[in-house]
């Protein structure tokens, strides 16, 4: 991991939102730098602010205070239209519950992205990348959880995004299936050079990262660089 090109730079990110009648302080001043090609694992218990941070980085949400730059461009100054354009061009998302469109087949779920991306792979290529070339015409309901998550990854990477943001990608999966999914993420990071952030509360997964950030109570509590990375296939929990 030799590159030092800065992809994201965040300073003093704070997020407060209302949940019904309670005020939630999700982020309390987060500073963060992410480098090109890096695979970062974000660890932390539920409610520590991981997802909020990821959503802000991905342009899904805006901070209450603080700033984020993407390649030097201030995302916090961008309007909704610009954020949409940012997500469309640069970001791939993978969610814990896959969030596939149930009425579309695997191939069509990927096509949803390739229809609007600038220089995408074909849906077939993207699905081959995650090892699902045999199940392209199945609907989500006909796929296992792991398969659905791999479709979601194919959907996220089909546009060749600069950034892949995964929110608990293995959270709903058993261990062998989760490993299979992580292998795909690892491969995308290695082969496409996509800067990747994986959120998890599973400390084992941290061993595959270049860098591990631990979050607690809306702050980054610690950061460590793995001297040697463990390949995803050797992980288990």
């Amino acid at each position: 991991m030799g590159s030092t090109e800065l992809v994201f730079r965040a300073r003093g990110l704070t997020k407060v939102y209302r949940m019904g009648e309670v005020e939630v302080h999700a982020l309390r001043g987060v500073d963060l730098d992410l480098h090109a090609g890096e695979l970062v694992v974000l660890l932390g218990p539920s409610g520590s602010g991981k997802s909020t941070l990821l959503n802000i980085l991905g342009g899904l949400d805006v901070p209450t205070a603080g700033q984020v730059w993407y390649h030097g461009e201030d995302l916090t100054a961008a309007d909704a239209r610009a954020l949409t354009q940012f997500r469309r061009t640069h970001v791939g998302f993978v969610f814990q519950f896959y969030n596939l469109i149930p009425s579309l087949t695997a191939r069509e779920n990927v096509a949803l992205v390739t229809d609007i991306a600038e220089a995408p792979m074909t849906p077939e290529q993207a699905l081959a990348l995650v090892g699902l070339e045999q199940r392209m015409d199945h609907f989500p309901a006909q796929l296992s959880g792991g398969e659905q998550q791999r479709v979601a990854i194919a959907r996220a990477v089909a546009k060749r995004p600069a950034v892949l943001l995964c929110d608990e990608p293995t959270g709903a999966l058993d261990s062998p299936t989760g490993v299979r999914v992580l292998e795909v993420i690892e491969r995308v990071n290695a082969e496409l050079g996509t800067t990747t952030v994986v959120i998890t509360h599973n400390a084992d997964i941290a061993r595959m990262a270049h860098r591990v950030l631990r979050m607690a109570d809306g702050r980054i509590a610690s950061a460590q660089t793995n001297p040697t990375r463990t390949p995803a296939r050797e992980l288990s929990w």
Partner: protein
Amino acid sequence: MNALARKALRDLGHLRSQAIAIALVVASGVATLVMAQSTYRSLELTRTRFYADYAFADMWAATKRAPETLAARLAAVDGVQTVETRLVAPATLRVPGFADPVRALVQSLPVTGVPVLDRLYLRRGRLPTPGARDEAVLSDAFADAHHYRPGDRVLAIVHGRSQWFRVVGVASSPEYVYQIRPGASFPDFKRFAILWTSRRGLEAALDMDGAFNTVALRLRPDVPAVAVARRVDALLARYGGVGAYTRSEQLSHRYLQSELHQLEVMALLFPAIFLGVSAFLLNVVLTRLVGTQREQVAVLKAIGYTDFDVARHYLGIVALIAGAGAVLGVAGGTWLGHWMSGIYRDFFRFPFLDYRVGADVVATGLGVSLGATLAGTLQAVIGAMRLPPAEAMRPPAPERFRALLVERLGLQRWFAPPTRMILRQLERHPFKALLTVAGLALGCAIMMIGRFQNDAIDYLTQVEFYVGQHYDIAVDFTEPTARAALFELGALPGVTAVEPYRAVGVRLRHGTQSYRTAIEGLPADGRLRTPMDVALRPVALPPDGLLLDAYLARMLGVRVGDDVDVDVLEGRRRELRLRVAGTVEEYLGARAYMRLDALDRALGEGALVSGAWLGADPARQGAVMDALERRPRVAGMGARMASLRSFLDTMAESILVFTLVTLVLGGLINFGVVYNTARIALSERSRELATMRVLGFTEREVGAVLLGELALLVVAAVPFGFVAGALLCRGMAVAMRSDLMRIPVHFTSGTYAIAALATFAAAALSAAAVYRRIARLDLLAVLKAQE
């Protein structure tokens, strides 16, 4: 096709039964719009073409007897282009095997044989050979009703003399598009005919050699008709002219106009209701769809789809439903319009009918339906657009419920938990419940409109023909006659009562308003014909002054106590000023009444009568009519009940059809509303209902929770439906009223009962369809699925 479009189609497939229900409601709205609009336009176009092709005159004037030489002077009047003089006389026809007398107008054809104005459209046969005195052309409605064909003979009593005519042709004319007897309230094809025959023959029959009694005029468009009328009246005054009139006062034209107006009202009212309801249904369905697809909306946005893309996606789904409905509606409306125009063509005796559905009508149908659905779904679509992508990833917070008002009052022990669920649901979503009630009420209201026509006509005939009229035979004299003639009538065997009347043509004026009508003079103590007030109480005739029909009073802008100017259009043609002494309530026509002796004094022509009403011994009614027919002064007569029966027969079929159509349409609305509401409630609450099933509640008990709420709403909607229906019918009656007819707003309990029962039936049907789905509820899948 891109992936998002595919999603739209699949979502639609998933929603298909709801989508079909909504599309049908949209289709009904568009169909009524296209039907009424296209029929209206086609009739108007046909009328215009028929008037132009068959030279419908612009002005007519009747006199008692004017010399033919006057024609040249009429032609010289500035603004007159063409003059055609005629003889027109009342007659009675004898139809073998048909007991009732048939009243007719015999009208002369020009000496040349071919009319220049009000030309005849020959359906069969030919025009009479000029000079052939025994040849005649018969009006087509009458000929069809009695199966007359060219070559048949018909016996007419003209001016008291029997004469055989040979039918050489069957025709219609722009002058008699609406073939209604002057003075009648509705057409009766079996008992009214027009006979066109040669001028010379009729001159001889009427003792009118070298004279005419009616003139038709074609005017130059650049001269005001009022000015021409003044000159024509002046020329005809000394020959007993009764005032020139234009198309706006021509009987057939007026009826046609009023029918077209009613169509126009219908073309607005019905589509508005249906499209309003479909907008509501789409709102309900789309709001629900967007609600269940929060995560999907979020994913689309996370992937990089814009708010606009998302909006377009959902609007696309709506547009497909509305579009399918609109296309179906245009097709159905075209078919219905074609059918309806055919009915009108037969009724009005148009020789042809240009039925056309203009591109603009189709565009209006499509545009209005899309507009309505857009309006209905905008809120949900904007909701989807506004959904922040991160927010949408989180499940919606549980809705806040609270104890009911009744529970807070300490009445909770009266309600079992399922009942509390129903009531809390209603209290939690009052607006949704209100919209459902409104939709159902409109469906119920539409069903009332169908029956309303029936009620109104029943009530109208009851009032006009049973409460207000008690005579058996009406006799018209050819001209005002001395009262002594009454003794002769009273002496006829079988006659039990005789009451005279005097009808005089007048123009009533007040301020800038004027109206041509008749004043009827009635005996002070008459029983056979009694004007009534709105509460159906007989109104006593004042010793002096006029009783005006209330609608006529409003038209003229007069109140009781005001004076009106009266131009008498016949006899001595006096100009009078009479006081309005009271008003009467009538549904047909717009007349004025006076006491006979007061009218005689005002006219200054002595004690004259225009005809009489007779009471007759039912067994001898036929003999009385036979005897009357042979009297030269008797222009015609009619048995009251015969015409009424025939009228009701003609109406019965079309009313039945209309009632059925509105029942189906109203039922469709109710089915659509209940089905959609229930399906959505089912999907929104499937988790809750499945939980109940897991806890051990039976299908029936779970069904009761879901459908009980709807049953409450349906029951609550019916009274609102009654009110809405009554208001709609009143609105329709007000919009359609004219000087020719006012529709009474009157409902029978049967109408309420049918509307309520049909509403319940439609609701029960759709509830049954949804109930089957409760049985299929997949308990485990529902409980395992993420919120």
